[in-house]
């Protein structure tokens, strides 16, 4: 019989391989054996999604593949959920994300949300065509660390600045890291509208948010 380590590895592999049924079956084998523990979420599911994200960034996987990996991860998580008994892994931070008002496309934003979540963050996805005030309201309500705004069209990118202006007007600009991204967006545009950073890819968004959280922690220690 397979050991717990072997099954954990097998679970991660099933996620990388986009095998939804296999991921579910392995997760069930783990719970049937009475081996469920919270670290499986990290070592099995997050590890599998981490590898999938890496393949995506390397150009080996594309969006259909990455989405299928996420389905496999979701299937395993569903099996584990009753065993979690209210315990949840401590997220690394909270990110509010959405595609800005006027934007009809959100495939890219969904991918970024997926990859950020796979990296261990709590993600509040506001969807597409989101007005500026909704970003701010959600960030306040969820006590978010980062606001991530996507725009895929030149038509909508100007509305990104509205979010930042609204934060400034309320005097809460300093509370949040603001990351922007999307096809028409550039680092200089991000600077121009007063965003903290520009993320060129889903992987870059995770690295930027990790850095932001690190800096935030250090600042809290210093205070």
């Amino acid at each position: 019989m397979a050991t717990k380590e072997e099954l954990t590895h097998k679970l991660a592999q099933a996620i990388v391989d986009m095998e939804v049924d296999e991921a579910e079956a392995v997760a069930k084998a783990i719970t049937d054996a009475g081996w469920f523990s919270m670290d499986l979420l990290e070592k099995g599911i997050a590890a599998g999604m981490g590898q999938a994200s890496q393949y995506y960034e390397d150009g080996e996987y594309f969006i259909p593949e990455l989405l299928s990996c996420a389905d496999a991860a979701e299937a395993a998580t569903d099996v584990f959920r009753p065993y979690m008994q209210g315990q949840a892994p401590e997220p690394k931070g909270c990110v509010v994300i959405g595609a800005i008002c006027g934007d009809t496309h959100d495939i890219g934003k969904n991918i970024v949300a997926l990859v950020i979540q796979a990296a261990g963050y709590e993600v509040i996805d506001l969807g597409r065509d989101v007005p500026a005030q909704d970003f701010v309201a959600a960030a306040e309500r969820e006590q978010a660390d980062v606001i991530a705004i996507a725009s895929l069209m030149t038509t909508s990118m100007n509305h990104m600045a509205d979010v930042i202006q609204l934060l400034e007007k309320r005097g809460i600009r300093d509370r949040y890291g603001v990351v922007v991204g999307g096809k028409p967006i550039s680092a200089s545009f991000a600077r121009e509208i007063g965003a903290d950073r520009y993320a060129a890819s889903a992987g870059a968004a995770v690295r930027i948010i990790d850095e932001w959280m690190q800096a935030k922690k250090q600042m809290q220690v210093a205070e």
């Binding site: 986009m18 594309f62 969006i63 299928s68 495939i107 030149t154 038509t155």
Partner: protein
């Protein structure tokens, strides 16, 4: 001095025949040039002009007349096809383009296959083809371009796009069935456009990018169904422009397999290099829409000259224009090309 009419110039460019100078166009649809500034001036406004043929044709004429683009481009959005196939539309505002409110189906397996003929029953299809008819009769020297939303983008506008993309891998058979169905209706719509005077059909398929699909699925789905559509339009005797969004490095060999008479690309694609690599390709593009919106007439004028120096066959914006782009910026662009 111009020797050719704009229509002759565009048609000859699409056939790779000699022309007096490069044409500068904006095909409509995803590349809609109905700027807020023009509409405020003329009073022919969106969103009303998405529905009413008399307004649609006036606005198309206003765009032609004010911008200097050498064509009529209709419609002004990418939702006509999906609406006819069942998705409810939010028509947006003067400055904001229409969008799909919610896709009609959750999965490719839920799609109800409507019989052929739904396109001609759609009131918005009627507005589009009546406008094309009117403009092509009244201004026979100006090419009237009918813009189509491509098969992948239309499918992802009637089926939830995230599910649709997954199903391209996991439910191949059902996904192909939906794409085949959608392509059939697009052919019907193109036929109506052609029957009513469209000079050229332009297909934009922003969901069909190498970045989203990867090379394998780009070939299996995008190239296959776009070519099926293009071949059908060719059989109607009309040339086709195909616009592909996004970065292309990954799908360059597949781009060369597209049957379109011209391939239009995004701003960051090096068209000069692409022309050298695939010398049979007729290239179209690709002045940055970011530059057009945020730069000044001087810079735009200079950058437009670069496109001429690189001998891009048909000059156009690189992608969808922002409707808040200043008219003088667009005019600097078209002037630079026409002065050649």
């Amino acid at each position: 001095m111009d020797v050719l009419t704009p229509k002759e110039r565009l048609l000859r460019s699409l056939k790779k025949e000699k022309v007096d100078r490069h044409p500068v166009i904006c095909p409509g649809g995803m590349m809609n040039a109905a700027l807020v500034e023009i509409m405020q001036h003329t009073g022919h406004t969106l969103p009303e002009a998405h529905h009413v043929d008399s307004l649609m044709r006036e606005l198309a004429y206003d765009v032609y007349d004010n911008t200097g683009f050498e064509n009529f481009g209709i419609p002004f959005c990418m939702t006509v096809e999906a609406e006819a196939l069942g998705s409810p539309i939010d028509f947006g505002s003067l400055s904001c383009e229409p969008k799909i409110k919610v896709e009609a189906y959750k999965s490719v397996k839920d799609v109800e296959f409507k019989p052929r003929g739904v396109m001609e029953k759609s009131s918005r299809v009627a507005a589009v083809v009546q406008s094309l008819h009117y403009l092509s009769e009244k201004y026979p020297d100006v090419p009237a371009i009918g813009s189509l939303t491509g098969p992948l983008s239309t499918s992802a506008s009637i089926v939830d796009p995230m599910t649709f993309l997954k199903q391209l891998r996991r439910e191949k058979e059902a996904a192909h069935k939906v794409l085949d169905y959608v392509t059939g209706h697009l052919i019907d719509y193109a036929q109506l456009m052609v029957d009513n005077g469209a000079t050229v059909i332009s297909i934009a398929d922003p969901t069909a990018t190498g970045e989203i699909l990867g090379p394998k699925m780009f070939k299996e789905y995008a190239v296959y169904y776009i070519n099926k559509l293009v071949d059908a339009i060719h059989a109607m005797g009309v040339p086709v422009i195909v616009h592909i969004c996004g970065e292309m490095a990954m799908v360059k060999p597949q781009i060369a397999e597209l049957h379109g008479d011209a391939i239009s690309v995004d701003a960051f694609v090096n068209l000069k290099q692409m022309k050298e690599e695939y010398n049979t390709l007729t290239t179209m593009g690709n002045l940055s829409t970011y530059l057009l919106e945020f730069s000044d007439p001087d810079t735009i004028y200079k950058q437009s000259k670069v496109l001429l120096r690189n001998n891009i066959d048909i000059i156009s914006p690189a992608c969808g224009l922002s409707t808040s782009t200043a008219l003088k910026n667009i005019q600097a662009f078209t002037t630079a090309i026409k002065e050649e």
